[in-house]
């Protein structure tokens, strides 16, 4: 799995951090998304996909 995030689209809702805290974080200075792991291991794939589904700004793209 490959994950990309679009910081310009991000609205800082924090949904991805709740869904997959090992994969996503937020910058302290503006709350925008930080991708912690570009290729999450198998055990984090489901949570990562769920985070992409939740993102209100469609800022997370997952490729398998």
């Amino acid at each position: 799995m490959k994950v990309r995030v679009d910081v310009d689209a991000c609205v800082g809702a924090g949904q991805c951090v709740l869904a997959a805290p090992d994969v996503f974080d937020q910058r302290d200075e503006d709350g925008m998304v930080v991708l912690l792991v570009e290729d999450p291991p198998a055990e984090l794939e489901a949570a990562t996909e769920h985070a992409a589904l939740l993102c209100p700004a469609l800022a997370i793209v997952v490729e398998k």
């Binding site: 924090g14 951090v17 869904a19 937020q26 302290d28 709350g31 769920h50 700004a57």
Partner: protein
Amino acid sequence: MSETTIGVTSFPTTRDSSCPFDPPAEYAELRAQEGTASLACPVGVNARVVSRYADVRAVLSDPNLSSHAAPSTHVVADGQLDRPVAPGSLLHMDGPDHARLRRLLTPEFTVKRIQAMRPYIQGLVDDHVDALLARTGPVDLVQDFALPIPSLVICELLGVDYGDRDRFQEQTAVLIGTNSDPEALQRANAEVVGFMTQLVLAKMAAPGDDLLGRLIVRARENGQELSVEELVTLGITLLIAGHETTANMIGLSTLALLRQPDQLAALRADPGLAGTAVDEMLRYLSIVHFGVLRQATGGVTIGDETIKAGEWLVAALSAGNRDESVFPDPDRIDLRRGATAHLAFGYGIHQCLGQQLARVELQEVFARLHQRIPTLRLAVPFEEVEFKDHALVYGVRALPVTWDVEDDR
């Protein structure tokens, strides 16, 4: 498709009194119809009402749909859709202007920052439970629990001085109360605007380590200094959005859970369930119950239909949240459902900025109230509870509750 081909022609606003937690029955019909229905809204425009989950998400994430009209004014007869938007009205802004302003606020509501507020919120909930238990029922849970907790959280967040919090709380309670007469409402509105203006001026002169202070400094450092007017509008937006919604969720969800003893017993037995329980109750109750209004600024496609520039759309959040293709058995409360993808906080660029704060407040209430007062129950027959059918945010006017005195723990 003409407006008369659908069985419903006016915007549904009336619920079935036998199940006041369910949206008006017309929404289930609308979801089952092909396409979207064009309905007459009380404000005086026809709007296409989008009621399926996928369509609600499509509408709310489409950049060709503008938010400049107030979010729920389609249900208000004198909603004034064309009135100018005040500077700093985040909810009514679009595109880059909205993004710039929102980004000044997002660092205040990150998951991390809100988690850091959890101990404060826990203490606040416990103090209010203590105050209930120091009395004997019945008490009105709305007045003595649901309203003050989010109000004090907002005071803490905005940096309102301790000495001013009682007055601030009184006036905002009048402002968001639906029992207030128009004159009292106007007076409270003027008071809150005056109060917020004083607060903003004080923070501009000496920015402290609180939301308003940090916002002022951040904006200056980014070269986008905010005016007094913008800061007052933002402060009041945060106040109303953070207070009214959370207070109504506390009151209404407590009542709904008291009516579902099996679910309530599960929550009482396992307070760890509070996390998923909160999202399920947000989905089930969808208190921004009339949905949100958008206007097309360019061509928009919803399913097979084309919406032309200038046309109005309503994204019916409550209907999307009962879409059986996404939430099986949608009219049932299932605290273990894991309904995090619900639409109660909206979707798209305007999705609730304070959602993490709302979640933590509700989680602490859910985990503590029923644990500490296990015999909590309604003190009047259910039929006597009054619902705010026509308020923009749904809820109960009052919630008389009582408990056994042995519950003091």
